[in-house]
Amino acid sequence: MFKPLTQKSWAGIGAALALALVLPLITRDPYVMHVMVLVMIFAIFASAWNLVTGFGGLKTFGHHAFFGLGAYGSALLALNLGLSPWITLWLGGLIAAAAGLLIGTPILRIRSMPHVAIVTLGFAEIVRICIANFSGLTRGEMGLWGIPQFEGFTLPGIGKVTFSPADKVSFYYLALALLVLMMVVIVRLMRSKTGLAMLAMRDGEDAAESLGVNLTRMKLMVFGLSAFIVGVAGAFYAHYLLILTPASAVGVDLMISIIAMVLVGGLGTFAGPLVGALVLTVLIELMRDLENYRLLGYGLLIVLIVMFLPRGLVTLRERLFPRPQE
């Protein structure tokens, strides 16, 4: 994790980024663009969940709460206060972060993984029910629609950039920018001293404590950051799809998809959540006719991966061609 990036990994990152940048030049097909925007939203969500669960070792199962809070928070602020989505995007993240700090405080005192799982699941359920019940504000199960869109702007040299459901390319680049930004934050954090302390915390709390790491503050900070990132992803989702329901934005199905993606890609790796989001989202889209089997497939995948490939796809090569043991 702290070894400097090799030339090979720089080359890999560069190639992936270049491919992502030129994709709209190859095809502007709205359907392809739509799938790729979803991939990137999920990739941000998955990376943030991986930050606490894979790197931080805090196994939470309720991050969909933050996605929903970011989505509804941003949408409602833009709708009711007339703020620009460009601002509420970040406010949505801050609302999620505040909630993250709130729920983080009790769970950080607990070292028992089952308790953490229970509290986070329960908290997400509280958020979902509250959003459904405060129907005067959120329109409950009817769904919140009429969410303001991102305003267009003029980019020197390129021309007018507009965000409309008809043209998804601008959403694509915005999602890509957000993904790159969040990845830079996560990677820089993990390669800093704080990141080292986090891994120490994951691998042995007592050891980290004796290193003089302030566990509670560290965990809280990581939890809040992760919630913020997920909240921003949720806010973007709201202003992209322009309609929200409690089930689509805070449903436990969403969390399960994310868990499946991270586990498939590889828990505790940088590339894992990205690979997982790409593979699963594209796979599901390719098998659209089998929509009824989508969740069944996710469930099977989670079980099979956990049982037979516990470290995910990104370690598959190592599993197939193991390096000789020293």
């Binding site: 196994k59 199962f61 729920i103 009790p106 769970i107 005192r109 607990i110 028992s112 993984m113 089952p114 308790h115 799982a117 229970i118 509290v119 699941l121 329960g122 908290f123 359920e125 509280i126 029910i129 509250c130 019940n133 436990v252 399960i256 868990i259 499946a260 586990l263 009824n292 089997y293 969740l295 069944l296 996710y298 469930g299 099977l300 995948l301 989670i302 079980v303 956990v306 049982m307 516990p310």
Partner: protein, 289 residues
């Protein structure tokens, strides 16, 4: 609000709570013996409901036979699932997380399998007994009385099983010290399997008893699972008696809470209570640190 209605609500809370107790005690039994948090526990409830519905309604079998049969099927299914998945995972490093993730996956599989097999309809089972018990101003349907009686009988049976039978001794010994249990010759793996089966059976029994009141659908497991979690947090994770008391307590708290607010806040009340308890006494209301 008059007093009779209030007492009626408390009694109804106790009756609902007795079902929470059955569900929570299954989670406690599995956690107590193998330290596995079973996220698929709600699905045993859901499937138990379907088995009962299928046997009693579709096949028209007398509920007195259909319910035990449904419970027995759930028991076998629980053992099978444990054998196929959890048994391998608990032997590995990182088992605490992998068992949670795998049982979450299992829960999705069972949910969607039920959706494919039984469809998305809400199915109900006719009441097993009809009429209303009247005690002065208090009126409670005999169906609810039956639920409570069955719950008490089951709790009594489980207590006897744990305290006085060979199997019960081996379950208690395994939950207190797995290595020591192995050393005295207890086949720990078999105990795990039976505990998973018993937990599934308890969940299925709760579903069978509630089937005339709560419609069965593929998604009925998740809310029940979360309620079960509240119960075990109140009673202390892994404690069987704790789960019984926690279940009854939750039933009453919800009944009072719903009186003060409205029924759509029922779940928020119980989850908030749970988080408060974890904050204040993570080892449960009755357990020791």
């Amino acid at each position: 609000m008059n007093l009779a209605i209030f007492i009626e609500q408390i009694l109804n809370g106790l009756i609902t709570g007795s079902m929470y107790a059955l569900i929570g005690s299954g989670i406690a039994l599995v956690y107590g013996t193998m330290k596995v948090l079973n996220l698929a526990h709600g699905e045993f409830y859901m499937l138990g409901g379907y088995f009962t519905w299928y046997l009693a309604v579709s096949l028209g079998i007398n509920p007195a036979i259909a319910i035990p049969a449904a419970v027995a099927i759930a028991f076998c299914l629980g053992m099978l699932i444990q054998k196929l998945t959890v048994e391998y995972l608990i032997l590995r490093d990182n088992w605490a997380f992998t068992t949670i993730a795998a049982t979450m996956g299992l829960s999705i599989i069972l949910q969607n399998a039920a959706l494919l097999v039984f469809g998305a309809n809400f199915n109900t089972v006719p009441s097993y007994v009809s009429g209303v018990m009247v005690l002065g101003d208090i009126r409670i349907s005999w169906q609810r009385v039956l639920i409570f009686v069955v719950a008490l009988a089951t709790i009594g049976f489980m207590t006897w099983l744990l305290k006085y039978t060979r199997l019960g001794w081996s379950i208690r010994a395994t939950s207190q010290d797995r290595d020591a249990a192995q050393v005295v010759g207890i086949p720990v793996k078999r105990v795990y399997m039976i505990c998973f089966g018993l937990a599934a059976a308890l969940g299925a029994l709760a579903a069978a008893m509630l089937a005339p009141i709560n419609a069965i659908n593929p998604w009925s497991g998740m809310p029940v699972l979360l309620k079960g979690f509240v119960v075990v947090v109140l009673g202390g994770l892994g404690s069987f008696p704790g789960a019984i008391i926690g279940g009854l307590l939750l039933g009453v708290v919800e009944a009072v809470g719903v009186q003060l607010t409205s029924s759509e806040w029922r779940d928020v009340i119980s989850f908030t209570l749970m988080i408060a308890v974890i904050w204040w006494r993570p080892w449960g209301l009755f357990g020791k640190k």
